[in-house]
C-alpha cells in the first residue's frame, strides 16, 4: 500500500483528490451516496454573504469533450451555509474547503471572517476567477494588484489556509501565482474554466442564456497541465491542479507537472462514484512504478529535462 496522503500547507489530506467547487453542491448532496471522509477534501460551492439566484437556464451546454456552464454562482450565502450545511459536513467527517466569492474586497473579507469563526472549515479557496458574473471575482483575478489585494486583505482576518483559485483567462498565469504568493497565499488552485461560447446555428442564438460560459472537461486538460507546470516554476507554495481530470492517469499527470493535490469537477457529473476507482488506480500506479509515497511525484517532470522557456511572456 503506497502512502497516498497529500501535504497541503498546514493540512495533510488523506489523498490528493478534492471535489471541485461548483461541481459538488455543498457536499451534503452526495453524503448518502459516498463516504465524504474518503475524499482528500470537499470544496463547496462558491459563497457570497447573501443568497444569489444565478442565471436563467439553460445554464449548461455540451461541447466536444467538454461542457460550458454559466450557472451564475447561485448559492445560499455564507450565513445559511454555516448554519444549515456545515454541521452535516462535520458530522460526515468531510475535510471542508469553502470557496469564497465577493463583489467587493470587503465582501471577500467578511465571508472569510464568518467562516473563520466556525469550527469545521479546513481552508478557504478565494474565487477570483469565475468568468460568469459581471461584478466581482474575475475583475480581481484578471488584475495582478486585484489578486494581491484580495489575498492580502483576507490574510488579515483569518488564520485558515488561503488558496486563491486562478483564472486561465490571462496571458501569463504564473505572474498571478507570484502575486498570490507575495500577498501571503498558502496555496493556489488552478485552473478555473476558460471563457467560451457556443451558438445554435438553427436559431442563430447563443446556446446559453448568459451568452458566454466557462469551458471545462477533458478538452481543456492539456492547457491546464501546461499552466500548472508554469506555476510550479514560478512559486514555492503548494498548487492544487484541475482541468478535465477524469482518471488516475490524469491525476498523476497533474502531479508530475507540479500539483500537490487535484480537484475533479466535470467528471464527477458523469460518474459520481469515480473517487474510489481513481484511488484504487492510483494504488496500482504506485505498485507498478515502485512508488511508496505518491507525494514524491509532485513536480517530478521538472527535473527530467531542461525546463521549457515560455514561447511568449509579457515583460
Amino acid at each position: 500500500m503506497a502512502d497516498l496522503s497529500a501535504p497541503l500547507a498546514a493540512l495533510t489530506l488523506r489523498n490528493p483528490l478534492m471535489a471541485a467547487s461548483g461541481c459538488f453542491g455543498y457536499g451534503v448532496e452526495y453524503a448518502d451516496a459516498l463516504d465524504l471522509s474518503s475524499l482528500g477534501a470537499v470544496v463547496v460551492k462558491g459563497l457570497f454573504l447573501s443568497e444569489r439566484e444565478g442565471h436563467a437556464p439553460p445554464r449548461i451546454v455540451e461541447t466536444p469533450a467538454g461542457m460550458l456552464n454559466a450557472i451564475g454562482l447561485q448559492g445560499i450565502g455564507v450565513h445559511r451555509f454555516v448554519k444549515e450545511r456545515l454541521p452535516e459536513l462535520r458530522a460526515r467527517g468531510a475535510v471542508t474547503i469553502v470557496n469564497v466569492c465577493g463583489v467587493t474586497l470587503d465582501e471577500y473579507v467578511e465571508v472569510s471572517r464568518v467562516l473563520s469563526d466556525h469550527e469545521g472549515v479546513a481552508a478557504i479557496e478565494l474565487n477570483i476567477s469565475c468568468p460568469n458574473i459581471k461584478a466581482g471575482g474575475i475583475q480581481f483575478g484578471c488584475s495582478l494588484t486585484g489578486t494581491h489585494d484580495v489575498v492580502a486583505a483576507v490574510r488579515q482576518v483569518t488564520s485558515l489556509p488561503i488558496m486563491p483559485k486562478l483564472t486561465p483567462n490571462v496571458t501569463d498565469v504564473a505572474s498571478f501565482a507570484r502575486a498570490a504568493e507575495a500577498a501571503g497565499a498558502d496555496a493556489i488552485s488552478l485552473v478555473n474554466t476558460f471563457l467560451a461560447m457556443a451558438i445554435d446555428i438553427e436559431t442563430r442564438k447563443p446556446k446559453l442564456t448568459n451568452v458566454l460560459g466557462g469551458l471545462s472537461g477533458p478538452a481543456i486538460r492539456p492547457i491546464a497541465v501546461r499552466m500548472v507546470y508554469e506555476c510550479r516554476q514560478a512559486v514555492r507554495i503548494p498548487i492544487v491542479g484541475m482541468g478535465g481530470i477524469a482518471s488516475a492517469d490524469d491525476v498523476v499527470e497533474f502531479m508530475l507537472a507540479g500539483a500537490d493535490a487535484v480537484q475533479i469537477g466535470t467528471a464527477n457529473f458523469a460518474d459520481p462514484f469515480l473517487w474510489s476507482r481513481i484511488l484504487a488506480d492510483l494504488e496500482s500506479y504506485c505498485t507498478r512504478h515502485g512508488v511508496t509515497r505518491l507525494a514524491d511525484l509532485v513536480g517530478a517532470v521538472h527535473g527530467s529535462r531542461t525546463s521549457a522557456e515560455p514561447a511568449c511572456r509579457p515583460s
Partner: protein
C-alpha cells in the same frame, strides 16, 4: 425529502424494441434500481462510452420488469430519438452495458384521500405513468389516462394501460384516432362533468406548453396538478445547479430550485410558468 439510496449499475441491455422510427423501449438489467425505484423517479444513463456525449442523460423509469416470483429485475426506458444521447439509446443492442445511476428525484406524491386519478400524458411524457398506474391500481383507485399525440401511430402502450383497467381517453391532432385535437380538448369535456367536491388527483407529463395548459385548466376548476418536468440536466445528484426551475416565492418573486433533487415532480401551482416557458423558447 427521501433519503437517497443511489446506485450506479452497469446494466446489460436485455432488449431494445423499436416502436417506430422515433420511439423505442430499452430494457436494462438494473435490479437494485428496479427494486428501490418509486413511481415517477428517473435514472441518469451513460448512453455511450468515451467523451461523446460527455454527460449522462436523464430518463424516466418507464416499467419495472419483474421475474416470475415478483422480484424486480430490470427497468425499461421509453425513449424518443431527439439528440445525440437519445439517438444513441435508440440504437443500442442487446448485450451492451450502460452505466445506469438511480433511482433519482422525488416520486409522484400519492395522496391518501383521492378516489379518482387522472393522468395526462403527451408523447414521450407517457413514461412516468406506467409505474404510477401499478402503484395506484394496487390501491384500488379509478384511473383515467388522457393520452395525446400528433398522429394515431404515435400512441404507444395504450393496451398496456387498458389491460390494467385504466379508462383510456386518446386524442390525436390529426384526428386519426380518438378525440380530434389536443389533449386539453378531452380534458375540458371531462372537467365539465366533474364537481369540485370529487376527491381526485391529477398528474401530468408532456411538453412544457402542454403541461402549462393542462395545469391552467385544472386551476380554473379549483384543482392543482402534479407535473413532471424535463430540464437540461448535468449530474442528477444536485451537484451542478444546471437543471433549475423557477418557483414562485411568497414575496411575489421567483426562486430557482434544482429539478433533479427537488423535482422532477412539482405542484403546478408552485411553478413560475412564465419563467419555465422562456427556457424552451
Amino acid at each position: 425529502m427521501l433519503p437517497r439510496m443511489v446506485v450506479d449499475e452497469r446494466a446489460e441491455v436485455l432488449e431494445n424494441r423499436a416502436l417506430s422510427a422515433e420511439y423505442n423501449v430499452v430494457t436494462l438489467a438494473a435490479p437494485d434500481i428496479a427494486a428501490a425505484a418509486r413511481p415517477g423517479q428517473f435514472v441518469m444513463l451513460r448512453t455511450a462510452p468515451g467523451l461523446e456525449p460527455l454527460l449522462r442523460r436523464p430518463f424516466s423509469i418507464f416499467e419495472i420488469v419483474r421475474g416470475a416470483d415478483g422480484t424486480a429485475r430490470a427497468i425499461s426506458i421509453l425513449n424518443k430519438r431527439i439528440g445525440i444521447g437519445t439517438g444513441r439509446l435508440y440504437a443500442v443492442r442487446a448485450g451492451e452495458r450502460l452505466d445506469c445511476l438511480g433511482p433519482l428525484g422525488q416520486p409522484w406524491p400519492l395522496s391518501a384521500g383521492a378516489r379518482t386519478v387522472w393522468m395526462v400524458a403527451g408523447g414521450v411524457g407517457l413514461a412516468p405513468f406506467a409505474t404510477l398506474t401499478e402503484a395506484l391500481v394496487a390501491r384500488g383507485l379509478a384511473l383515467r389516462l388522457f393520452y395525446g399525440a400528433r398522429r394515431g401511430e404515435d400512441l404507444y402502450y395504450a393496451d398496456w394501460f387498458a389491460d390494467r383497467g385504466v379508462d383510456l381517453v386518446v386524442t390525436t391532432e390529426d384526428g386519426s384516432r380518438g378525440v380530434t385535437g389536443r389533449v386539453t380538448v378531452a380534458l375540458d369535456r371531462a372537467l365539465a362533468s366533474t364537481t369540485r367536491d370529487d376527491a381526485m388527483d391529477v398528474y401530468c407529463c408532456g411538453p412544457t406548453p402542454m403541461m402549462r395548459a393542462v395545469a391552467a385548466r385544472l386551476a380554473d376548476a379549483g384543482r392543482d396538478t402534479w407535473v413532471s418536468l424535463e430540464q437540461v440536466m448535468g449530474c442528477g445528484m444536485g451537484g451542478c445547479y444546471s437543471c433549475v426551475v423557477p418557483l414562485r416565492t411568497a414575496a411575489g418573486g421567483t426562486h430557482f430550485v434544482r429539478s433533479c433533487i427537488a423535482g422532477p415532480v412539482f405542484a403546478a401551482s408552485t411553478l413560475h410558468w412564465e419563467g419555465l416557458a422562456a427556457d424552451h423558447g
